[in-house]
Protein backbone atom coordinates (compact mmCIF):
# COMPACT_ATOMS: atom_id res chain seq x y z
CA UNK A 1 0.00 0.00 0.00
CA UNK A 2 1.29 3.41 -0.90
CA UNK A 3 1.54 5.73 2.09
CA UNK A 4 0.03 9.21 2.06
CA UNK A 5 3.07 10.83 3.66
CA UNK A 6 6.71 9.83 3.52
CA UNK A 7 6.91 9.88 7.33
CA UNK A 8 5.41 6.46 7.93
CA UNK A 9 7.59 3.79 9.54
CA UNK A 10 7.29 0.06 9.31
CA UNK A 11 6.70 -1.37 12.79
CA UNK A 12 7.87 -4.82 13.73
CA UNK A 13 8.14 -6.80 16.95
CA UNK A 14 11.70 -7.92 16.37
CA UNK A 15 13.96 -8.49 19.35
CA UNK A 16 15.54 -5.28 20.63
CA UNK A 17 19.26 -4.78 20.24
CA UNK A 18 21.28 -4.11 23.38
CA UNK A 19 21.41 -0.35 22.76
CA UNK A 20 17.66 -0.28 22.33
CA UNK A 21 17.11 -2.45 25.35
CA UNK A 22 18.97 -0.18 27.78
CA UNK A 23 16.83 2.74 26.51
CA UNK A 24 19.36 5.36 27.59
CA UNK A 25 20.31 6.51 24.05
CA UNK A 26 16.63 6.83 23.23
CA UNK A 27 16.00 8.80 26.43
CA UNK A 28 18.86 11.17 25.66
CA UNK A 29 17.53 11.64 22.15
CA UNK A 30 14.09 12.46 23.53
CA UNK A 31 15.56 14.88 26.04
CA UNK A 32 17.50 16.67 23.32
CA UNK A 33 14.24 17.11 21.41
CA UNK A 34 12.46 18.62 24.41
CA UNK A 35 15.45 20.86 25.10
CA UNK A 36 15.35 22.12 21.53
CA UNK A 37 11.71 23.06 22.04
CA UNK A 38 12.61 24.66 25.40
CA UNK A 39 14.63 27.30 23.57
CA UNK A 40 12.43 27.37 20.49
CA UNK A 41 9.97 30.00 19.40
CA UNK A 42 6.70 29.97 21.30
CA UNK A 43 3.46 29.44 19.44
CA UNK A 44 1.36 31.38 21.97
CA UNK A 45 0.41 35.03 21.45
CA UNK A 46 -0.02 37.21 24.56
CA UNK A 47 -3.61 37.89 23.62
CA UNK A 48 -4.87 41.16 25.05
CA UNK A 49 -1.55 42.91 24.42
CA UNK A 50 -0.79 41.33 21.07
CA UNK A 51 -3.47 40.53 18.59
CA UNK A 52 -3.23 38.20 15.69
CA UNK A 53 -4.16 39.71 12.36
CA UNK A 54 -7.66 38.71 11.40
CA UNK A 55 -8.84 37.73 7.98
CA UNK A 56 -10.23 40.70 6.07
CA UNK A 57 -13.65 39.11 5.97
CA UNK A 58 -13.62 37.90 9.61
CA UNK A 59 -17.18 37.55 10.92
CA UNK A 60 -17.26 39.08 14.40
CA UNK A 61 -19.56 41.50 16.24
CA UNK A 62 -22.12 43.25 14.06
CA UNK A 63 -22.35 46.94 13.30
CA UNK A 64 -25.39 48.94 12.15
CA UNK A 65 -24.02 51.47 9.68
CA UNK A 66 -24.97 55.11 9.20
CA UNK A 67 -24.77 56.85 5.86
CA UNK A 68 -22.44 59.76 5.05
CA UNK A 69 -24.79 62.27 6.69
CA UNK A 70 -24.95 60.26 9.88
CA UNK A 71 -28.44 58.84 9.34
CA UNK A 72 -29.22 55.25 10.23
CA UNK A 73 -29.45 53.12 7.12
CA UNK A 74 -31.67 50.42 8.63
CA UNK A 75 -35.34 50.60 7.62
CA UNK A 76 -36.48 47.68 9.78
CA UNK A 77 -37.58 45.62 6.79
CA UNK A 78 -36.90 42.45 8.77
CA UNK A 79 -35.07 40.58 6.02
CA UNK A 80 -32.07 39.99 8.31
CA UNK A 81 -34.33 38.49 10.96
CA UNK A 82 -35.92 36.23 8.36
CA UNK A 83 -32.53 35.21 6.99
CA UNK A 84 -31.08 34.50 10.42
CA UNK A 85 -30.82 30.71 10.84
CA UNK A 86 -30.37 31.05 14.61
CA UNK A 87 -33.25 33.49 15.04
CA UNK A 88 -31.01 35.82 16.96
CA UNK A 89 -32.34 39.08 15.52
CA UNK A 90 -35.51 40.85 16.66
CA UNK A 91 -36.71 44.35 15.85
CA UNK A 92 -39.64 46.73 16.30
CA UNK A 93 -40.28 49.12 13.43
CA UNK A 94 -41.44 52.73 13.83
CA UNK A 95 -42.43 55.56 11.49
CA UNK A 96 -40.17 58.54 11.10
CA UNK A 97 -41.75 61.76 12.44
CA UNK A 98 -41.26 65.09 10.69
CA UNK A 99 -38.05 66.72 11.91
CA UNK A 100 -36.23 63.38 12.31
CA UNK A 101 -34.91 63.36 8.75
CA UNK A 102 -31.36 63.89 10.01
CA UNK A 103 -31.61 60.74 12.16
CA UNK A 104 -33.15 58.16 9.84
CA UNK A 105 -32.64 57.77 6.11
CA UNK A 106 -36.02 56.30 5.18
CA UNK A 107 -39.57 56.89 6.42
CA UNK A 108 -39.42 53.72 8.49
CA UNK A 109 -36.74 52.83 11.01
CA UNK A 110 -35.98 50.28 13.74
CA UNK A 111 -37.04 51.63 17.12
CA UNK A 112 -35.65 48.51 18.80
CA UNK A 113 -33.04 46.32 17.16
CA UNK A 114 -31.61 43.47 19.19
CA UNK A 115 -29.17 40.68 18.41
CA UNK A 116 -28.75 37.89 20.90
CA UNK A 117 -25.03 37.19 20.76
CA UNK A 118 -25.43 33.81 22.47
CA UNK A 119 -27.75 32.63 19.72
CA UNK A 120 -25.84 34.22 16.87
CA UNK A 121 -23.66 31.81 14.91
CA UNK A 122 -21.87 34.58 12.99
CA UNK A 123 -22.76 33.11 9.61
CA UNK A 124 -23.14 36.51 7.95
CA UNK A 125 -26.51 35.79 6.38
CA UNK A 126 -27.91 39.05 7.80
CA UNK A 127 -25.21 40.97 6.01
CA UNK A 128 -26.03 39.06 2.85
CA UNK A 129 -29.76 39.66 3.17
CA UNK A 130 -29.66 43.38 3.96
CA UNK A 131 -30.87 45.41 0.94
CA UNK A 132 -29.83 48.73 2.53
CA UNK A 133 -26.19 47.89 3.38
CA UNK A 134 -27.06 48.62 6.97
CA UNK A 135 -25.72 45.61 8.85
CA UNK A 136 -22.19 44.27 8.59
CA UNK A 137 -20.09 41.84 10.56
CA UNK A 138 -16.75 43.24 11.70
CA UNK A 139 -13.41 41.97 13.02
CA UNK A 140 -14.37 42.88 16.60
CA UNK A 141 -14.79 40.08 19.14
CA UNK A 142 -17.91 39.89 21.31
CA UNK A 143 -16.76 40.49 24.89
CA UNK A 144 -17.29 37.78 27.49
CA UNK A 145 -19.74 38.43 30.33
CA UNK A 146 -20.69 36.85 33.63
CA UNK A 147 -24.46 36.94 33.01
CA UNK A 148 -26.64 36.02 30.04
CA UNK A 149 -28.59 39.26 29.81
CA UNK A 150 -25.75 41.54 28.65
CA UNK A 151 -25.30 39.36 25.58
CA UNK A 152 -28.50 40.79 24.08
CA UNK A 153 -27.03 43.74 22.23
CA UNK A 154 -29.39 46.66 21.55
CA UNK A 155 -29.05 49.66 19.27
CA UNK A 156 -26.83 51.42 21.80
CA UNK A 157 -23.98 48.99 21.10
CA UNK A 158 -24.81 47.95 17.54
CA UNK A 159 -25.25 51.35 15.81
CA UNK A 160 -21.95 53.03 15.00
CA UNK A 161 -21.23 56.50 16.39
CA UNK A 162 -22.16 59.61 14.37
CA UNK A 163 -18.68 61.10 14.73
CA UNK A 164 -16.90 60.39 11.40
CA UNK A 165 -13.65 59.56 13.21
CA UNK A 166 -15.30 56.88 15.31
CA UNK A 167 -17.10 55.14 12.47
CA UNK A 168 -16.50 51.40 12.16
CA UNK A 169 -14.42 50.75 9.07
CA UNK A 170 -15.84 47.94 6.94
CA UNK A 171 -14.06 48.88 3.74
CA UNK A 172 -11.90 45.76 3.99
CA UNK A 173 -15.00 43.66 3.42
CA UNK A 174 -15.78 45.57 0.22
CA UNK A 175 -13.60 43.49 -2.06
CA UNK A 176 -13.28 44.46 -5.71
CA UNK A 177 -15.86 41.88 -6.66
CA UNK A 178 -18.36 43.24 -4.17
CA UNK A 179 -17.80 46.82 -5.28
CA UNK A 180 -18.30 45.86 -8.91
CA UNK A 181 -21.48 44.06 -7.99
CA UNK A 182 -22.77 47.16 -6.25
CA UNK A 183 -22.26 49.25 -9.41
CA UNK A 184 -25.34 47.58 -10.83
CA UNK A 185 -28.12 50.11 -11.34
CA UNK A 186 -30.53 48.03 -9.27
CA UNK A 187 -28.65 49.22 -6.18
CA UNK A 188 -28.70 52.88 -7.16
CA UNK A 189 -31.15 53.66 -4.37
CA UNK A 190 -28.45 52.87 -1.81
CA UNK A 191 -26.13 55.68 -2.81
Amino acid sequence: MKSLTNRSKVVSDKKMTFMEWIYIPAIIKGMSITLKHFFGKKATINYPEQKREFSKVYRGQHVLKRDDLGRERCTACGLCAVACPAEAITMVAAERKPGEENLYREEKYAAIYEINMIRCIFCGDCEEACPKEAIFLTDRIVASEYERAPFIYGKDTLVEPVDPDKRIDISARQTEKVLKFKMDERFAHNK
Partner: protein, 343 residues
Protein backbone atom coordinates in the same frame (compact mmCIF):
# COMPACT_ATOMS: atom_id res chain seq x y z
CA UNK B 1 25.47 22.56 74.90
CA UNK B 2 25.94 26.27 75.08
CA UNK B 3 23.06 28.67 74.73
CA UNK B 4 24.61 30.42 71.75
CA UNK B 5 24.82 27.15 69.87
CA UNK B 6 21.19 26.32 70.58
CA UNK B 7 20.07 29.78 69.48
CA UNK B 8 22.24 29.56 66.37
CA UNK B 9 20.88 26.13 65.46
CA UNK B 10 17.31 27.32 65.95
CA UNK B 11 17.86 30.29 63.67
CA UNK B 12 19.50 28.05 61.07
CA UNK B 13 16.61 25.62 61.36
CA UNK B 14 14.07 28.33 60.62
CA UNK B 15 16.13 29.70 57.73
CA UNK B 16 16.37 26.26 56.14
CA UNK B 17 12.67 25.60 56.71
CA UNK B 18 11.86 28.92 55.08
CA UNK B 19 14.23 28.32 52.15
CA UNK B 20 12.83 24.82 51.64
CA UNK B 21 9.28 26.15 51.50
CA UNK B 22 10.22 28.98 49.15
CA UNK B 23 12.11 26.65 46.82
CA UNK B 24 9.24 24.14 46.83
CA UNK B 25 6.80 26.97 46.15
CA UNK B 26 8.76 28.24 43.21
CA UNK B 27 9.33 24.70 41.97
CA UNK B 28 5.62 24.59 41.17
CA UNK B 29 6.09 27.76 39.15
CA UNK B 30 9.25 26.36 37.57
CA UNK B 31 7.50 23.14 36.72
CA UNK B 32 4.73 24.95 34.89
CA UNK B 33 7.20 27.17 33.08
CA UNK B 34 9.42 24.27 32.05
CA UNK B 35 6.40 22.26 30.92
CA UNK B 36 5.12 25.21 28.94
CA UNK B 37 8.47 26.00 27.32
CA UNK B 38 8.98 22.39 26.29
CA UNK B 39 5.54 22.38 24.71
CA UNK B 40 6.13 25.68 22.86
CA UNK B 41 3.87 27.59 25.25
CA UNK B 42 4.61 30.50 27.57
CA UNK B 43 3.36 29.28 30.94
CA UNK B 44 1.93 31.44 33.72
CA UNK B 45 2.74 35.10 33.01
CA UNK B 46 -0.27 37.04 34.31
CA UNK B 47 0.21 37.23 38.11
CA UNK B 48 3.00 39.74 38.64
CA UNK B 49 6.04 40.20 36.39
CA UNK B 50 6.69 36.97 34.43
CA UNK B 51 3.94 35.39 36.54
CA UNK B 52 6.21 35.35 39.59
CA UNK B 53 3.28 35.78 42.00
CA UNK B 54 1.56 32.69 40.60
CA UNK B 55 2.65 30.39 43.49
CA UNK B 56 1.14 32.85 45.99
CA UNK B 57 -2.11 32.93 44.05
CA UNK B 58 -2.14 29.12 43.87
CA UNK B 59 -1.49 28.85 47.60
CA UNK B 60 -4.26 31.32 48.36
CA UNK B 61 -6.61 29.38 46.11
CA UNK B 62 -5.76 26.15 47.96
CA UNK B 63 -6.55 27.80 51.31
CA UNK B 64 -9.86 29.23 50.10
CA UNK B 65 -11.17 25.96 48.67
CA UNK B 66 -13.93 24.08 50.44
CA UNK B 67 -12.60 21.40 52.74
CA UNK B 68 -14.30 18.08 52.06
CA UNK B 69 -13.89 14.97 54.18
CA UNK B 70 -15.88 12.09 52.69
CA UNK B 71 -18.53 10.64 55.03
CA UNK B 72 -17.22 7.10 54.62
CA UNK B 73 -13.60 8.10 55.18
CA UNK B 74 -11.73 7.41 58.39
CA UNK B 75 -11.52 10.98 59.56
CA UNK B 76 -8.51 10.72 61.84
CA UNK B 77 -6.34 8.86 59.35
CA UNK B 78 -7.60 11.08 56.55
CA UNK B 79 -6.07 14.09 58.30
CA UNK B 80 -3.00 12.17 59.44
CA UNK B 81 -2.00 11.19 55.88
CA UNK B 82 -1.01 14.59 54.48
CA UNK B 83 0.45 15.61 57.86
CA UNK B 84 2.89 12.69 57.77
CA UNK B 85 3.76 13.35 54.13
CA UNK B 86 4.54 16.99 54.84
CA UNK B 87 6.37 16.42 58.14
CA UNK B 88 8.70 13.71 56.86
CA UNK B 89 9.41 15.73 53.73
CA UNK B 90 10.52 18.67 55.88
CA UNK B 91 12.50 16.57 58.40
CA UNK B 92 15.03 15.33 55.85
CA UNK B 93 16.69 18.70 55.34
CA UNK B 94 18.25 18.61 58.80
CA UNK B 95 21.26 16.41 58.00
CA UNK B 96 22.19 17.95 54.67
CA UNK B 97 25.34 20.09 54.84
CA UNK B 98 24.20 23.31 53.21
CA UNK B 99 27.66 24.84 53.36
CA UNK B 100 31.01 24.86 55.11
CA UNK B 101 31.69 26.77 58.32
CA UNK B 102 31.26 30.46 59.00
CA UNK B 103 33.64 32.16 61.44
CA UNK B 104 31.92 34.97 63.34
CA UNK B 105 33.72 36.60 66.27
CA UNK B 106 36.15 33.72 66.73
CA UNK B 107 33.44 31.08 66.89
CA UNK B 108 32.95 28.55 64.12
CA UNK B 109 29.42 27.94 62.95
CA UNK B 110 28.65 24.97 60.71
CA UNK B 111 25.95 25.41 58.08
CA UNK B 112 24.70 21.90 58.80
CA UNK B 113 22.05 21.58 61.50
CA UNK B 114 22.93 18.09 62.72
CA UNK B 115 26.04 16.21 61.63
CA UNK B 116 24.74 12.73 62.35
CA UNK B 117 27.30 9.96 62.00
CA UNK B 118 24.60 7.95 60.20
CA UNK B 119 23.28 10.82 58.05
CA UNK B 120 22.45 8.67 55.03
CA UNK B 121 20.53 6.14 57.12
CA UNK B 122 18.55 8.99 58.68
CA UNK B 123 17.47 10.17 55.24
CA UNK B 124 16.48 6.64 54.30
CA UNK B 125 14.45 6.27 57.46
CA UNK B 126 12.59 9.52 56.83
CA UNK B 127 11.87 8.66 53.20
CA UNK B 128 10.52 5.29 54.29
CA UNK B 129 8.15 6.91 56.76
CA UNK B 130 7.04 9.23 53.95
CA UNK B 131 5.42 6.23 52.25
CA UNK B 132 3.06 5.95 55.21
CA UNK B 133 1.70 9.40 54.45
CA UNK B 134 0.61 8.24 51.02
CA UNK B 135 -0.53 4.80 52.18
CA UNK B 136 -2.58 6.08 55.10
CA UNK B 137 -4.11 8.83 52.97
CA UNK B 138 -5.05 6.40 50.22
CA UNK B 139 -6.45 3.86 52.67
CA UNK B 140 -8.43 6.35 54.74
CA UNK B 141 -10.14 7.84 51.68
CA UNK B 142 -12.25 4.67 51.31
CA UNK B 143 -12.11 4.99 47.56
CA UNK B 144 -10.96 2.29 45.17
CA UNK B 145 -8.81 4.61 43.09
CA UNK B 146 -7.14 6.07 46.15
CA UNK B 147 -6.50 2.57 47.49
CA UNK B 148 -5.03 1.44 44.17
CA UNK B 149 -2.77 4.48 44.19
CA UNK B 150 -1.70 3.75 47.75
CA UNK B 151 -0.92 0.11 46.95
CA UNK B 152 1.09 1.15 43.95
CA UNK B 153 2.97 3.75 45.98
CA UNK B 154 3.82 1.24 48.67
CA UNK B 155 5.04 -1.50 46.34
CA UNK B 156 6.93 0.94 44.14
CA UNK B 157 8.71 2.59 47.02
CA UNK B 158 9.66 -0.69 48.67
CA UNK B 159 11.02 -2.07 45.39
CA UNK B 160 13.08 0.97 44.56
CA UNK B 161 14.33 1.57 48.07
CA UNK B 162 16.25 -1.71 47.81
CA UNK B 163 18.13 -0.70 44.68
CA UNK B 164 18.67 2.76 46.12
CA UNK B 165 20.11 1.37 49.33
CA UNK B 166 22.43 -0.92 47.40
CA UNK B 167 23.72 1.90 45.22
CA UNK B 168 24.45 3.75 48.47
CA UNK B 169 26.35 0.76 49.87
CA UNK B 170 28.73 0.97 46.93
CA UNK B 171 29.12 4.67 47.61
CA UNK B 172 29.83 4.04 51.28
CA UNK B 173 32.51 1.54 50.23
CA UNK B 174 34.33 4.34 48.45
CA UNK B 175 33.82 7.00 51.11
CA UNK B 176 34.13 4.83 54.20
CA UNK B 177 31.68 7.02 56.10
CA UNK B 178 27.92 7.38 56.54
CA UNK B 179 28.15 11.00 57.65
CA UNK B 180 27.12 13.44 54.95
CA UNK B 181 29.57 15.99 56.29
CA UNK B 182 32.51 13.62 55.81
CA UNK B 183 31.30 12.53 52.38
CA UNK B 184 31.20 16.13 51.19
CA UNK B 185 34.58 16.92 52.76
CA UNK B 186 36.15 13.99 50.90
CA UNK B 187 34.93 15.28 47.57
CA UNK B 188 36.93 18.50 47.91
CA UNK B 189 38.63 19.60 44.70
CA UNK B 190 36.75 17.83 41.92
CA UNK B 191 37.00 14.39 43.54
CA UNK B 192 33.29 14.11 42.97
CA UNK B 193 31.78 10.71 43.62
CA UNK B 194 30.05 10.66 40.25
CA UNK B 195 33.46 10.00 38.68
CA UNK B 196 34.05 7.05 41.02
CA UNK B 197 30.50 5.69 41.03
CA UNK B 198 28.88 6.47 37.64
CA UNK B 199 26.75 3.33 37.64
CA UNK B 200 25.77 3.87 41.25
CA UNK B 201 24.78 7.41 40.40
CA UNK B 202 22.57 6.25 37.55
CA UNK B 203 20.82 3.70 39.77
CA UNK B 204 20.43 6.26 42.55
CA UNK B 205 19.01 8.83 40.13
CA UNK B 206 16.42 6.42 38.71
CA UNK B 207 15.44 5.34 42.21
CA UNK B 208 15.18 8.96 43.31
CA UNK B 209 12.65 9.54 40.55
CA UNK B 210 10.66 6.56 41.76
CA UNK B 211 10.93 7.56 45.44
CA UNK B 212 9.62 11.06 44.83
CA UNK B 213 6.75 9.73 42.65
CA UNK B 214 7.96 11.77 39.74
CA UNK B 215 7.29 10.94 36.14
CA UNK B 216 8.05 8.48 34.51
CA UNK B 217 7.33 6.66 37.80
CA UNK B 218 4.27 8.67 38.87
CA UNK B 219 2.03 5.62 38.90
CA UNK B 220 0.54 6.26 42.37
CA UNK B 221 -1.06 9.47 41.17
CA UNK B 222 -1.49 8.98 37.45
CA UNK B 223 -4.35 11.20 36.40
CA UNK B 224 -5.46 9.19 33.40
CA UNK B 225 -6.13 5.86 35.05
CA UNK B 226 -6.49 6.61 38.77
CA UNK B 227 -7.86 10.19 38.65
CA UNK B 228 -5.16 11.44 40.97
CA UNK B 229 -4.50 8.15 42.79
CA UNK B 230 -4.03 8.45 46.53
CA UNK B 231 -5.21 12.07 46.67
CA UNK B 232 -8.40 11.56 44.65
CA UNK B 233 -10.61 12.39 47.64
CA UNK B 234 -8.50 15.22 48.99
CA UNK B 235 -9.37 18.86 48.64
CA UNK B 236 -8.27 22.26 49.89
CA UNK B 237 -4.95 22.57 51.72
CA UNK B 238 -4.74 18.84 52.51
CA UNK B 239 -4.40 18.26 48.78
CA UNK B 240 -2.01 21.19 48.75
CA UNK B 241 0.11 19.47 51.42
CA UNK B 242 0.41 16.33 49.31
CA UNK B 243 1.38 18.25 46.19
CA UNK B 244 3.70 20.47 48.18
CA UNK B 245 5.34 17.51 49.89
CA UNK B 246 6.16 16.11 46.46
CA UNK B 247 8.02 19.29 45.55
CA UNK B 248 9.82 19.38 48.88
CA UNK B 249 10.86 15.78 48.32
CA UNK B 250 12.13 16.72 44.91
CA UNK B 251 14.17 19.56 46.42
CA UNK B 252 15.59 17.35 49.15
CA UNK B 253 16.36 14.53 46.69
CA UNK B 254 18.19 16.98 44.49
CA UNK B 255 20.11 18.19 47.53
CA UNK B 256 20.98 14.61 48.51
CA UNK B 257 22.12 13.76 44.98
CA UNK B 258 24.21 16.94 44.83
CA UNK B 259 25.69 16.09 48.24
CA UNK B 260 26.48 12.46 47.54
CA UNK B 261 27.60 12.60 43.93
CA UNK B 262 28.35 16.18 42.93
CA UNK B 263 30.59 17.31 45.77
CA UNK B 264 27.94 19.21 47.78
CA UNK B 265 29.14 22.74 48.48
CA UNK B 266 32.58 22.12 46.99
CA UNK B 267 33.43 24.41 44.12
CA UNK B 268 36.19 23.58 41.65
CA UNK B 269 39.24 25.92 41.76
CA UNK B 270 37.88 27.76 44.81
CA UNK B 271 41.24 27.52 46.64
CA UNK B 272 43.15 29.10 43.78
CA UNK B 273 41.06 32.31 43.83
CA UNK B 274 42.24 33.20 47.31
CA UNK B 275 39.12 34.50 49.06
CA UNK B 276 38.50 34.78 52.79
CA UNK B 277 37.12 31.58 54.40
CA UNK B 278 33.68 33.12 55.01
CA UNK B 279 33.36 34.21 51.38
CA UNK B 280 34.38 30.71 50.28
CA UNK B 281 31.66 29.24 52.49
CA UNK B 282 28.97 31.53 51.13
CA UNK B 283 30.08 30.98 47.54
CA UNK B 284 30.05 27.26 48.17
CA UNK B 285 26.49 27.41 49.46
CA UNK B 286 25.44 29.39 46.39
CA UNK B 287 27.15 26.83 44.17
CA UNK B 288 25.43 24.02 46.07
CA UNK B 289 22.08 25.62 45.38
CA UNK B 290 22.97 25.96 41.72
CA UNK B 291 23.64 22.21 41.62
CA UNK B 292 20.30 21.60 43.34
CA UNK B 293 18.44 23.77 40.86
CA UNK B 294 20.19 21.95 38.03
CA UNK B 295 18.98 18.65 39.45
CA UNK B 296 15.44 20.01 39.89
CA UNK B 297 15.52 21.08 36.27
CA UNK B 298 16.61 17.55 35.32
CA UNK B 299 13.65 16.16 37.27
CA UNK B 300 11.28 18.42 35.33
CA UNK B 301 13.04 17.86 32.03
CA UNK B 302 12.60 14.10 32.38
CA UNK B 303 8.99 14.51 33.43
CA UNK B 304 8.07 16.41 30.29
CA UNK B 305 10.03 14.08 28.03
CA UNK B 306 9.22 10.52 29.05
CA UNK B 307 5.80 8.87 29.17
CA UNK B 308 4.67 6.96 32.26
CA UNK B 309 5.75 3.37 32.81
CA UNK B 310 3.27 0.55 32.77
CA UNK B 311 3.01 -1.15 36.15
CA UNK B 312 4.64 -4.46 35.15
CA UNK B 313 7.42 -2.56 33.39
CA UNK B 314 8.03 -0.61 36.58
CA UNK B 315 8.34 -3.77 38.63
CA UNK B 316 10.49 -5.45 35.97
CA UNK B 317 12.88 -2.53 35.88
CA UNK B 318 13.11 -2.41 39.66
CA UNK B 319 13.58 -6.08 40.46
CA UNK B 320 15.13 -7.50 37.29
CA UNK B 321 17.05 -4.45 36.14
CA UNK B 322 18.22 -2.15 38.90
CA UNK B 323 18.73 -4.57 41.80
CA UNK B 324 21.05 -6.99 39.89
CA UNK B 325 22.86 -3.98 38.50
CA UNK B 326 23.27 -2.53 42.00
CA UNK B 327 24.56 -5.87 43.32
CA UNK B 328 27.04 -5.99 40.45
CA UNK B 329 28.11 -2.45 41.32
CA UNK B 330 28.74 -3.40 44.95
CA UNK B 331 30.67 -6.46 43.86
CA UNK B 332 32.82 -4.50 41.40
CA UNK B 333 33.52 -1.74 43.92
CA UNK B 334 34.27 -4.23 46.68
CA UNK B 335 36.62 -6.26 44.48
CA UNK B 336 38.45 -3.11 43.42
CA UNK B 337 39.01 -1.92 46.98
CA UNK B 338 39.93 -5.41 48.13
CA UNK B 339 42.78 -5.64 45.64
CA UNK B 340 43.95 -2.02 45.96
CA UNK B 341 44.09 -2.34 49.77
CA UNK B 342 46.19 -5.52 49.52
CA UNK B 343 49.08 -3.59 48.01
Amino acid sequence: MEWTVIIYKTILLFIILFVTLIVAMYSTYGERKVAAFMQDRRGPNRAGPFGLLQPLADGLKMFMKEEIIPLTANKRLFILGPSIAMTTALLTGVVIPWGGTLTIGGNEYSLQIADLSIGILYIFAMVSIGVYGIMIGGWASNNKYALLGAIRAASQMISYELAMGMSIIALVLTTGSLSLHDIVAQQHGMHWNIFYQPLGFLIFLICAFAETNRSPFDLPECETELIGGYHTEYSSMKLGFYLFAEYINMFISSAVIATLYFGGYNMPFIDQIGLSPNAVTLLGTAFFFMKIFGMIFLFMWIRWTLPRFRYDQLMNLGWKGLIPLAIFNILATGTYYFFTDLK
